[in-house]
């Protein structure tokens, strides 16, 4: 139990998928302009990363490895994740309009998010059990949501600040992200 908790905290804070592994940066910089969008995007990423880990881990160990075609893992995962996103969007669209409005509208943007593929590939590259892989995926999703929400809050404040003209927009966003990454490096010793 403590092991699972350690994996959750480690993947969420210590080995954060955005700031430490530099995955999902496109949506990280692209969407972080409105708080409403970011919350929806964060929730959608948590759901998709968790669901993809739920499927890709057994798919690799029970199908690709026994058939000796494990080398197609990347292309197989891309197709599975893209299908999963389509299926999730379809189900949410069909059965819950409020949920669709909150997070479903961001699902097409997640289909190409490398953070989702990165977590699926990391899960099979590290020797771990199924619950551990799921906990890693959940922690990574939560870490992504935490970072993107924090980053958006800082970015919104910077919009009203007296920033030099040359740094306005993306340049100051990159500086902010690098400072956040350095701050998160301070958490390296907690696990």
């Amino acid at each position: 139990m403590m092991n699972l908790l350690a994996i959750l905290i480690s993947s969420m804070l210590v080995n954060n998928i955005v700031l430490m592994q530099f995955l999902g940066l496109c949506s990280f910089f692209g969407v972080s302009t409105k708080m409403k969008s970011v919350v929806g995007m964060g929730l959608a990423v948590i759901v998709v990363i968790f669901l993809s880990a739920l499927i890709t881990f057994p798919l690799y160990n029970l199908v690709l490895v026994p058939l000796e075609i494990a080398y197609i893992d990347t292309i197989a995962f891309i197709l599975v994740i893209a299908s999963l996103v389509q299926l999730t969007e379809l189900v949410i669209k069909r059965f819950s309009q409020s949920l669709y409005k909150a997070l479903g509208v961001y699902l097409p943007l997640i289909a190409t998010n490398c953070a989702v593929l990165g977590v699926a590939l990391t899960n099979i590259a590290t020797p771990q059990s199924y619950p551990e892989a799921l906990m890693f995926a959940l922690g990574s999703g939560l870490g992504y949501a935490l970072i993107i929400i924090t980053f958006t809050a800082i970015r919104l404040r910077l919009d009203t600040a007296n920033t030099p003209k040359a740094l306005k927009g993306l340049p100051i966003a990159f500086v902010t992200a690098s400072l956040m990454a350095m701050a998160f490096m301070g958490l390296a010793g907690i696990i």
Partner: protein, 72 residues
């Protein structure tokens, strides 16, 4: 034999993707969500896009147009 398995498995994944994509296309976006959907997918929602002064670079054709206007 291995090649056949590979083709079958990959074919299966590709079929699965096409099937889910077609099914998803058939279900229309609910009327009440259309505005939110269009807002999320629009160019203006992207923070990587340039500001009003630089006109941004949303999409390949827009980027080309933007580059034509840049004078060094």
């Amino acid at each position: 034999m291995e090649l056949l398995i590979l083709i079958l498995v990959l074919g299966g994944f590709i079929t699965l993707y096409i099937l889910t994509m077609k099914l998803n296309e058939k279900v229309a976006v609910p009327e009440s969500c259309k505005a939110a959907y269009l807002e999320a997918q629009s160019c203006e929602s992207c923070g990587s896009k340039g500001d009003k002064e630089t006109k941004g670079s949303c999409g390949f054709s827009n980027t080309l147009e933007f580059l034509k206007e840049v004078k060094l």
